[in-house]
């Protein structure tokens, strides 16, 4: 758990480790070094009962939402919500998709998430390189400032940022609000600023664990700082960058607050913030609301299925993030 102690690079923080599939943290595979528990069997019955009960409790809210979403409203009205009567189909999903304007909302999420994640990785890796590979008078101070910034509750900066953006005048050709409010730039900028600190911290620990000889050789060859960063260090950080990239995609896709604060037009909101409006839009058609909610969950679940290893590695690499 390198984040607790930058010096404690033993666990997830070392480059060699973070790249290995087996160290995808949460996944327990067969573990070398830990003898298999001999007393298995009898002793584990209680554990299984407890875990099965807990897992069932865990699945019920999600299961209920899926169940509700799959049933046509007419059938629930006829048979009641607590019945299995009637049809099961995806009609609510298609209806929620068109009625909720989800294609637009997802596109908005993409427009915010993609640039933010690239900017975060770009700036944070530069910063991490500078503070970890080059000694510099203020690098601990800067690292502390960056890390602390990420831990602040976002509401602390809400008012000044809102007012700054409101008074930052732009030509109407660029922004129809005449300022930075209601633009994606405002959300991207703040998401980037807020997340840089966390990613810088994680990447700097990762880079510190890379052997100094790596850049040494390049230095002898006369490679400049930029080439050391871009051609040598960054490629070596690929596992950490993949983990951080996955994590940040989810963090920013899941961010509810900044778009809520900065974006006023409902059709410009990203999915996560817009689900708030579903309840009003679909009135008390809970089947549609459930379908809308499940649609919103799909990207996160896709990432979960495909990139779970990176996501978990990212979380455990740098778990300072709430």
């Amino acid at each position: 758990m390198s984040i607790a102690h930058p010096t404690d690079a033993a666990a997830a923080g070392t480059p060699a480790d973070a790249g290995q599939p087996s160290s995808g943290a949460g996944r327990t595979g067969p573990r070398p070094g830990r003898p298999a528990n001999n007393k298995q069997g009898k002793r584990h019955y209680g554990t299984h009962v407890f875990l099965i009960v807990m897992a069932a409790i865990w699945l019920v809210p999600l299961g209920w939402a899926v169940f509700t979403a799959l049933r046509p409203k007419a059938d629930t009205d006829k048979y009641g919500y607590f019945s299995t009567g009637g049809a099961f189909n995806f009609d609510n999903f298609t209806q929620a998709w068109t009625q909720g304007g989800f294609s637009q909302l997802f596109w908005n999420s993409v427009l915010i998430t993609v640039p933010s994640v690239f900017l975060i990785l770009f700036f944070a890796s530069m910063m991490a390189f500078a503070v970890s590979r080059v000694s510099w008078k203020f690098n601990i101070t800067l690292l502390i400032m960056f890390t602390a910034g990420n831990l602040l509750p976002p509401q602390v900066l809400a008012a000044p940022l809102f007012e700054m953006f409101k008074h930052f005048e732009l030509p109407y050709a660029i922004s129809d609000s005449g300022n930075l409010l209601n633009t994606y730039i405002s959300v991207i900028a703040v998401d980037t600023a807020f997340q840089i600190g966390f990613v810088t911290f994680v990447l700097s620990n990762y880079m510190k664990a890379l052997s100094p000889e790596l850049t040494e050789a390049a230095l002898v060859d006369g490679a400049g700082v930029w080439r050391q960063y871009w051609d040598i260090i960054l490629p070596l950080c690929r596992p950490a960058l993949a983990a951080m990239g996955t994590l940040e995609v989810i963090f920013i896709y899941n961010d509810y607050f900044w778009p809520l604060l900065f974006i006023q037009s409902g059709d410009r909101l990203p999915v996560t913030t817009a689900i708030n409006n579903l309840q009003g839009q679909f009135l008390s058609n809970y089947n549609l609301i459930a379908a809308g909610a499940m649609i919103t969950a799909i990207p996160a679940l896709v990432v979960y299925l495909l990139l779970q290893r990176h996501f978990v590695a990212g979380l455990t690499l740098g778990s300072s993030k709430g």
Binding site: P6, A11, L59, L62, K208, P212, T316
Partner: protein, 316 residues
């Protein structure tokens, strides 16, 4: 923005041993480094730290958020108003404390328990992990909606389970101000426990297995081994979990804002900040005073964490 080029001054003092190896920086390198540090730092200053300071400044003013010239000094009036004449403030403080207590004494221990159970080589551990971890992938806003469906008075599953659905005894779990904070806390636990579990699973794997063996040879039972050997050995993870738990309870916002914008039994300081900033009758001064209160409380766990994370580096 001075890049140290003096070899003797470099490397000695701070973290990076590799730095010693950088013997010479050309002028161009210094410019490049300056930009690599300067641009992210500038972004961080302009969009995080300067706004934070501005929050502090605005909390001592009276302002409706319109013209900058309308900002009037107000001394400590906003704080006095918040503490004495603003009805939702003390309930919000109580709810934040409750949130912290619930996460600390229910959600976090539950996550730890799940991690310990799943760390044994039991069958199906991957499936269990996936189940408990799934909510961590979801946004808190979405979690609010999912639980809304579960908690609904007439169509929610919980009232059906309790047999009260459709009867006058049916509880509107998110609407009834006497129970909705608890309902929200269960929803928050749903996510938090999985998060804690995944961190502790990683932490448990980092514990030297010989420690466990040694304790067992010494005759310690499983519980003793865990509390006296394993748990203390995970100190770095424990610190992170403490910090996450405290910070999460201060940051709690999305769930209550999705439910009812943080009113009627679900007041939280973070939600009050926003209520005072948006909508009609913006009272930036009041909102900022609340933000500063939130900031000051947040600085406790932040300082605790930073001193643990960076303390050693500084000494060296």
């Amino acid at each position: 923005m001075s890049v140290s080029t003096n070899p003797s001054a470099r490397g000695r003092k701070a973290t990076a041993a590799p730095a010693r190896r950088v013997r010479r920086l050309s002028g161009r390198d210094k410019v490049v480094l300056g930009l690599m540090v300067g641009v992210p730092t500038l972004i961080q200053l302009v969009l995080v730290w300067i706004p934070t300071l501005m929050s502090v400044g605005l909390s001592f003013t009276r302002w409706n958020g319109l013209e900058l010239t309308d900002i009037k000094p107000a001394g400590g009036d906003n704080y006095q108003f918040v503490a004495q004449d603003y009805p939702p403030f003390w309930p919000a403080v109580q709810h934040n404390v409750l949130w912290l207590a619930f996460l600390a004494f229910v959600a976090t221990p539950l996550g730890l328990l799940l991690a310990v159970l799943l760390d044994q080589n039991i069958r199906g551990t991957r499936i269990y992990q996936s189940v408990f971890f799934a909510p961590v992938m979801l946004s808190l806003a979405l979690i609010g909606i999912i639980w809304q469906l579960f908690y609904n008075r007439d169509s929610g599953f919980l009232n059906f389970l309790l047999g009260t659905a459709g009867t006058p005894q049916a509880v509107d779990w998110f609407g009834d101000s006497s129970v909705n904070i608890w309902a929200a806390l269960f929803a928050a636990t749903w996510r938090h426990a999985g998060y804690v579990m995944i961190l502790y699973l990683a932490g448990l794997k980092g514990v030297d297995p010989t420690l466990r063996e040694a304790a067992q040879i010494d005759g310690a039972n499983a519980v003793q081994t865990f509390f006296q050997v394993i748990f203390p050995a995970m100190r770095p993870v424990n610190i992170i979990i403490i910090v996450i738990t405290v910070i999460e309870s201060l940051r709690a916002f999305d769930i209550v804002y999705v439910i009812n914008r943080g009113t009627n039994g679900l007041e939280l300081i973070s939600a009050l900040v926003i209520q005072n900033l948006v909508g009609e009758g913006q009272v930036i001064g009041i909102g900022s005073a609340l933000a500063v209160i939130l900031l000051v409380i947040s600085l406790i766990p932040i300082t605790f964490y930073l001193s643990r994370a960076f303390g050693k580096d500084k000494e060296a």
